[in-house]
Symmetry: C2
Subunit: 173 residues, 2 copies
DNA sequence: GCAAAAAGTTAGTAATTACTTACTTTTAAG
DNA sequence: CTTAAAAGTAAGTAATTACTAACTTTTTGC
């Protein structure tokens, strides 16, 4: 992939994440990426095509981040990994994560499928630990993780470290 | 408030909720509300003014919905009320709720303050029940409620009734 | 019943939008 | 080296945007 094409995607990710898809014009993306506006349409056909490319790039990154999770064998390790995920988000990757939520509501973009393998891993983990409703437990934990991620991305989680240990304690980790 | 002014707010709420603020043009609102576009600007000065009015109307409604909560004395009743809230959302009020989330990400509109009285009520409730970290418990439960609301509004919560009793069971209700 | 204020419409405006077309430059393979 | 494809630009386009100004109608207080 050419450096300009990649640059358009990176710039679009940043703008989509912080200002939303509809509020971000193609001319603004072009200016900030320092390319001609026409190049966006040469590479991605239209604005929606650019969004698709941005989402695809983000999905790839999501897979990379969660890859180590699927190497874990111990159920407690799996649960710990998932609980700690939102607390381990790098500051410089906030754009990427924030876009997941911005796009989710602006477009009708369901991350359901993407989370399914993680959900299933959690169900097995809770099952092995003898929880009475492992599927509900898994769903609940993913809900919690999403909520915590939201708070962290918006800076509304006051004492991050205390909440992290509270959560680990909840699941006896 | 004149019927036309109210109609603009109701229509804007519906469109903002389902398509987002930026994707909804004032001409579209005017057409659907069957008023002239100029009337929107007469009443609300500009598009942002209309959004403010829509949010204010939504906040009023939120207060009405949560009012009974502040009459409750028993801590278990308070927790039960809050857990059951997302499951009791009327189908015809989905627009109103969906907008809370759409706007939250599109604008920088924090519902933090609005939830504060509920959070404090929960802290007292968990405290009375002898939970070791009542403030964290309260924060966690609000996170969970937000997640469940999201799932219900998007129709991704499969077995709603089963999850409701699972949640009540979690909190020994 | 009358005058002023409020509520309403119509027909504009300049700016911005996503996108196209016609063109030039760069890259890469034989 | 040649040449064709890919990558890039510049200058447009029609449509849409939020908003306004000038005007008419309706409501309301005295």
């Amino acid at each position: 992939m050419s450096s300009r094409k990649e640059n358009i995607i990176i710039t679009a990710l940043e703008l989509f994440a912080n200002e939303g898809y509809n509020a971000t014009s193609t001319s603004k993306i072009a200016k900030q990426a320092e390319v001609s506006e026409g190049l966006i349409f040469r590479h991605f056909k239209n604005k929606q095509g650019l969004l698709n490319a941005v989402i695809a790039a983000a999905d790839k990154r999501l897979k990379e981040v969660t890859a180590p999770l699927f190497e874990l064998k111990e159920p407690k390790e799996i649960i710990r990994f998932i609980i700690e995920m939102p607390f381990n988000i790098d500051e410089d990757k906030h754009d990427f994560w924030r876009m997941q939520f911005t796009i989710k509501w602006e477009q009708n973009y369901y991350k359901h499928d993407k989370m399914k393998p993680i959900l299933e891993l959690l169900i097995v983990a809770f099952s092995q630990l003898g929880y009475p409703s492992p599927d509900k437990e898994a769903q609940l934990l993913l809900n919690i993780i999403e909520g915590i991620s939201t708070d962290i991305l918006r800076g509304t989680l006051v004492d991050s470290e205390a909440f992290r240990s509270f959560m680990l304690n909840k699941y006896e980790l």
